[in-house]
């Protein structure tokens, strides 16, 4: 699998620094599972974090901080240092997405979105951005829409096309208020994506706009 559409560098910086909010971070982390080159870059940015931590002017801790710490450690039940987890069963959904969804693809409860499309809102503690899994039937378009804010889409199964090219498993598509598009799922396989937005989409068609408040997209 060769990824052709990566995350922007500054998004990786925000993720690695810890300033990106949870819904966006979920998408970034899931892309990292599928994209070794972005993973290497994220590790490099984290090592910048390590170097900057190293250079911070130290601030004295309380005199009894170490004693207090050792007391906490002595009071902990003698749990062994956590060993590596046993290898889970192979799945199409990478972590951390799989844990957020609480199960693998076959166990998911899809909600109808109209025109044969389905979605599953994903629960996070993010107060602004919303994450959802989307399923668009093979060969079908997502209705023409614009964006009121930022949107990132990560393909997990199948592929879709826009005027910007083809997006397949692991690829990231970004959109902002300047983008109006009608992605079309590639033929042969339903397309499943993780999509994160910080504002509702703007659908062109009246029918789509009418149902929007009820499906929360």
């Amino acid at each position: 699998m060769k990824i052709s559409h990566h995350l922007p560098e500054e998004t990786l910086v925000a993720y690695s620094a810890g300033t990106l909010s949870e819904a966006w971070s979920l998408l970034v982390a899931t892309h990292l599972a599928l994209c070794p080159s972005c993973r290497t870059e994220a590790e490099r940015i984290e090592s910048v974090g390590g170097a900057l931590l190293e250079e911070l002017e130290p601030v004295d801790v309380a005199d009894d901080a170490f004693a207090h710490l050792m007391q906490t450690i002595d009071d902990m039940s003698a749990e062994p240092v956590p060993a590596r987890k046993s290898r889970p069963v192979p799945s199409l959904l990478p972590e951390p997405l799989k844990s957020y969804l609480g199960g693998d693809l076959h166990a998911l409860k899809w909600r109808r979105l109209g025109k044969g499309a389905f979605h599953i809102p994903i629960k996070t503690r993010d107060g602004v951005a919303k994450a959802r899994l989307l399923k668009v039937p093979a060969g079908q378009p997502v209705p023409m829409h614009g964006h009121n804010g930022q949107e990132l889409t990560l393909v997990l199964v199948g592929a879709f096309q826009t005027y910007q090219g083809t997006f397949a498993r692991g690829d990231i598509e970004g959109a902002d208020p300047s983008v109006e598009h009608m992605p079309i799922a590639a033929p042969g396989e339903d397309c499943i994506c993780l999509a994160v937005t910080d504002a509702p989409l703007r659908f062109k068609s009246l029918a789509a706009r009418l149902v929007q408040p009820f499906i929360g997209i």
Binding site: I45, E46, S47, V48, G49, M70, E79, Y100
Partner: protein, 199 residues
Amino acid sequence: MHDAPKNGFSADDLAACLSAVAASQDRKAFRVLFEHFAPRVKAYGARLGCTPQQAEELVQETMVKVWRKAGLFDPAKAAPSTWIFRIARNQRIDAFRRESHPEFDPDDPCLVPEEETPADTMIERSQSAALLRASLETLPEEQKLLLHMSFFQDMSHGVIAEKLNLPLGTVKSRLRLAMGKLRARLDENKISLDEEPNK
């Protein structure tokens, strides 16, 4: 290249301490880690807007995790400061922003592996902590400032742009330039190591 940190502990010393904590719950080694990292983690919390009390709590929570997770530290994968940075970052997000920091699982069978050979990676990583710090010094001030703000102010790049009165695009492109330069410096070093046969 050998760097001598202000208080005399090199990355290798600190990595050895983490291994000792993992292997035998060595309290002396843990004390060294505490002396070195606790004041830095406290400074990190303070920079990010914690009260002194909260910053002390961040130190306690972070160091408890260092004790418990020392067995997961892999010196071939990260410098001790990077590993502890991650723990402190995640702890802060969890405790003070009440969110999680989602992460991939290195044992996930879905994880697409790196193409690089592990040997190459080892050479790069064992050298990179010292080299990275030296390289950071060579960045133009405006790029260094943005990296600092990205890590030590809990702000989106949009808010940073407003604060500095810069277009968002400029903030993004400076960050890209900064990381590009660091990447080039690290790659340069990797090539020169490859050319020395007995290194």
